[in-house]
């Protein structure tokens, strides 16, 4: 069957078998191997992508069901060579060990942050319920999502994260003589 799908900003027109899963279409036809497969049952969330702006498990969909829709994968997040703030937060909070769950975790974290701009611990854990991690024990993942929320706050961004020289030089030295 003929499909037309927009993936990470590019429209692709392809002939696919109806039984082709969306995740296999992304990986094998479009070489978007950033999205991974971790299970056969829809439980692990490693394959999470966005479909028209909402997170879905791409192993739980047929490619033909994405016909006419917009898909965003982990590979479509960086802008002009700069990582997405959620990617940055995962890196600086050591929120990954083997990294297999990370693409799905990040895609789901972005979905969560769209609904909850300042989530508490419990809200993050609930929001990532459909993503399993076998390495980290989740602590640093929760931390990273909360850090990302701060980085993405209105007014936050590259400018606000920079310490201007003026700010630094106005600091008084601390301690003795």
């Amino acid at each position: 069957m003929h499909i037309s799908v927009n993936v990470d900003g590019v429209t692709y027109a392809d002939e696919v078998e109806p039984r082709l899963l969306l995740v296999h279409y992304l990986r094998e036809r479009l070489s978007k191997t950033g999205t991974v497969v971790g299970c056969d049952t829809g439980n692990c969330g490693a394959c999470t992508v966005h479909l028209d702006g909402h997170s879905v498990k791409s192993c739980q969909m047929l490619a033909v069901q994405a016909n006419g829709h917009e898909v965003t994968t982990i590979e479509g997040l960086a802008r002009d060579g700069k990582l997405h703030p959620v990617q940055e937060a995962f890196r600086s909070n050591h929120a990954l060990q083997c990294g297999f769950c990370t693409p799905g975790m990040i895609m789901q974290a972005i979905d969560l942050l769209a609904d909850e701009s300042d989530p508490d611990d419990e809200t993050v854990r609930k929001g990532l319920e459909g993503n399993l991690c076998r390495c980290t024990g989740y602590q640093n993942i929760v931390r990273a999502v909360q850090d990302a929320a701060q980085r993405m706050k209105p007014g936050a961004g590259p400018k606000q994260e920079q310490h201007s020289d003026e700010h630094v030089s106005s600091k008084q030295p601390v301690g003795g003589e």
Binding site: M1, E17, P18, R19, L21, H24, D40, T41, G42, N43, G45, T48, L51, H54, S55, V56, K57, C59, Q60, M61, L62, V64, Q65, N67, Q108, D111, L112, G127, E129, G130, N131, L132
Partner: protein, 274 residues
Amino acid sequence: MIPAEFKYLFPSTVDEAVRMLAEEGEDAKVIAGGQSLVPVLRMRLAAPTALIDIGGLTELTGVRDDGDSLLIGAMTTHYEVQRDHLVQDHALLLRLVTDTIADPQIRHRGTFGGSLCHADPAGDLLAPVLALDAVMIIAGPSGRREVPAAEFFVDYFTTALAADEILVDVRVPKYTGWGAHYEKLNRVAQAWSIVAVAAAVQVRDGTISAARVGLTNVGSGPVRATGVEEALIGQPPSSEAISEAALRASSGDGYKDNLARVLTGRALTAAVAG
């Protein structure tokens, strides 16, 4: 695994979908959100010859106000049910139940109707739909028919739907102002219920005037705890009255019997409180 081959059809109206189902024969299947069907295909537990994708039937999505009741379109996603203000105001129990289903990704795709048609005894929407006296509106080759929830759930993974029929809408009477709660016992890593209890209670002038109680995953289908409902009527919403009524929850299985009673007590206590 990769699913076996099938033909894929994308109707644009309910009538067209019904016609396609009839033409493709017994081994054709409807695909809604695919959140139960795709894993079934991947594990090759089923190999339908054709899939009729009803994802394009916009007439099946959304919740409408229909006087004394709500009409919930079969293709309304769990995510949409969670955020619908009509459901919140008139069928709070359904929102509370839907909040516990699976995870955010599955709730974005999985549908209200798909859950009911799949008829997994552990499916969370079956018991509340039964307890709330909902009616299934079904489209087939000879037009529409209505089936009460009590007759819709036939057995494990089996409903009253014929092979050439589609669930279109679910009519749910309004329960405006009723307290509600869903008490669910599940493993941490799996959202599926071991046992769960759906309760809706109406309290008037300090007395329970009506109650609806449904049990999830205690048998081959949802179970309505009519004994519990009857025991509550005319009682104050007190812990004594609730404990007494909860003793009547039963599943016919020792371990689950006990769970059903304990969870019924908790569900009712929370339902009368809010």
